[in-house]
């Protein structure tokens, strides 16, 4: 398949079943809401080393939040409910509770719940107050700038993590520019996050390593500096490869995001240095979800 002179390889992205939750952070203004959101989702690029994958889903206007203040929507993904609950509690306690003017609310309904204010309330040392409004329980924890409001719990759901595609270009600046534009397009969509820095990964990995202690290591087949030394997936003209990883609440969310991203990259075309679009997989044996690039772009 070719789009605007760019080859779409007949391969697939291999993704995994995960657990996800959404929370809403509000603050006095968007600056402080984003500050809390960015801190909370920092060091959350991959479950391999961070325990969870997290990102800001979108900014929210005052009329989209429970308390009428600007805010951000955050998605967190974990491999198990236990991991997710632990990370949510720690990150909320250390990054949102501590951030001036913030409050945190559930961003997801449903009967399966993860504790939010339910555990954080003990920071109030007995001075915390609960408030039950419209069937939702909120905790009011006294802090030095007034009160920290945290909803009792938030919903969780099954989700998909690890949707991806690789951008192979003549040069690194050309690959990076195309990926930056793709990230902007993909972040317009709901229910997805791009957990890596700026939404882009330069260190695509394979499973395992020659070193026993490592569960993942560099994907040498896509490293330009190893061309000629190892079995490579790169032709002589490919100067750089970047990857975009996307997590979503449903497979359809992943497909929409991948399509938006690949379309944007392809809009740069062969004349701006984009050669091929590929995808990362592990032979199809590890992940439950296979996103075939030709079907995604059909």
């Amino acid at each position: 398949m070719q789009i605007n002179g760019v080859t779409i390889e007949d391969t697939f992205a291999e993704a995994f079943g995960m657990r996800a939750t959404r929370i809403i952070i509000t603050a006095l203004n968007l600056h402080w809401a984003r500050q809390a959101g960015e801190t909370m989702t920092g060091f959350a690029t991959s479950v391999i080393g961070c325990g969870v994958e997290a990102g800001i889903e979108s900014d929210l206007t005052a009329d989209q939040t429970p308390d009428g203040r600007p805010g951000v929507s955050i998605l967190l993904f974990g491999m198990s409910t236990k991991d997710l609950a632990k990370a949510l509690e720690r990150r909320t306690g250390q990054c949102i509770l501590t951030c001036p003017t913030t409050a945190v609310y559930a961003g997801m309904d449903g009967s399966e719940r993860l504790p939010l204010g339910k555990t954080l309330r003990y920071f109030g040392d007995g001075y915390q107050i609960s408030k039950l409004l419209d069937g939702k329980r909120y905790w009011r924890i006294p802090v030095m700038d007034g009160e920290f409001i945290a909803e009792q719990d938030t919903g969780r759901c099954a989700a998909v993590g690890g949707g991806n595609f690789l951008v192979l270009a003549d040069t690194l600046p050309e690959a990076l520019t195309a990926c930056e534009d793709a990230v902007i397009a993909m972040r317009q969509l709901p229910n997805v996050i791009l957990p890596f820095p700026g939404g882009i990964v330069r260190s695509g990995s394979k499973v395992g390593s020659k070193y026993k202690a490592l569960v993942a290591s560099t994907n040498q087949a896509y490293c330009p500096t190893l061309r000629g030394l190892v079995e490579t997936q790169l032709d002589d003209k490919t100067g750089a490869v970047l990857e975009i990883v996307v997590n979503g609440l449903t497979p359809d969310d992943i497909i929409l995001a991948m399509r938006a991203g690949i379309e944007t990259v392809c809009s740069h075309g062969r004349e701006r240095g984009i050669r091929r679009i590929s995808a990362g997989n592990y032979g199809g044996k590890l992940g439950q979800f296979h996103f075939k690039l030709h079907e995604v772009m059909a």
Partner: protein, 270 residues
């Protein structure tokens, strides 16, 4: 079509209508409904001796009253709607668990007493002890919403534990007396001893009272995020009459009652 009960015999004694709820009547035929036994002036009598019964038994029950001596209307109802035309007696909606009771008139004493869920809307005034515990009880309103569009008497919200009590007009003495938790809003003026003995909970006052119990301490002028959440719920009932409060606005807050180591709050919106 709804089921309509129309009072046809305005005797002097009080009538106790507990047990006449939409969920119960919906399962019965008209003749069976007419033979239901109710208490009137301390005697057990068939419903049809005091009320005409017409329409279809459904989830909606319309009761048309001739006087204000019919008690326990909608008591312990769990679902459906009762629309009351006329003034309710005492204990309307007492122990109510769900559904909706609409009083197109005034309510008596103990309206919504110890209610647990659902919605009571009184278009007129109510008597004393709105949402208070039943005689001998320790817990008042434990859920749901009581919306009084007129004035309320003394002891409104006594021992309230959960839920929302809205009084658009004035409240008498001892509003929120021994309140355990929950939320009370008074749009008009309040009498004496508001919040006396409160343990937790929130009393929102739209007018500054002449005095508050000495065991409630002034907490300062604060901006409270929680207030915007409460106001959002109030707006559902008060619509255009909802006080305008944004998160940036400072309000006066009193806390206590210190006499019982309480963490309750009285917030004065003006």
């Amino acid at each position: 079509m709804s089921l309509i009960l129309r009072q046809i015999n305005e005797q002097k004694g009080r009538i106790d209508l507990r047990g006449i709820t939409p969920q119960r009547l919906a399962t019965l035929e008209l003749p069976a409904i007419e033979q239901l036994r109710i208490t009137a002036d301390h005697q057990m009598v068939p419903l049809s001796s005091l009320f005409s019964v017409e329409g279809d038994p459904m989830d909606e029950l319309i009761i048309i009253l001739g006087n204000n001596r019919v008690d326990y209307i909608g008591a312990r109802m769990a679902s459906g709607t009762i629309t009351l035309s006329g003034d309710a007696g005492n204990h309307a909606g007492s122990g109510m668990m769900g559904g909706r009771l609409l009083v197109n008139g005034n309510g008596g004493d103990f309206t919504g007493s110890a209610m647990q869920g659902g919605e009571i809307i009184v278009q007129g005034n109510v008597g004393n002890a709105t949402g208070a515990p039943s005689a001998g009880g320790l817990c008042g309103q434990n859920g749901g919403v009581i919306h009084v569009q007129g004035h309320a008497g003394d002891r409104a919200g006594e021992c309230q534990r959960r839920g929302l009590l809205i009084i658009e007009g004035d409240a008498g003495d001892l509003a929120g007396y021994r309140m355990i938790a929950g939320t009370i809003y008074v749009g008009g003026r309040t009498g004496e001893h508001t919040g006396l003995g409160m343990r937790r909970g929130t009393i929102l006052l739209n007018h500054r009272p002449d005095q508050l119990p000495v065991t409630l301490n002034h907490n300062g002028s604060l901006s409270l995020i929680m207030l915007t959440l409460v106001i959002r719920q109030l707006r559902h009932y008060l619509a255009g009459k909802t006080p305008e409060v944004s998160f940036a606005r400072h309000v006066d807050r009193y806390v206590g009652d210190l006499a019982c180591q309480g963490l309750g709050e009285i917030i004065i919106l003006t």
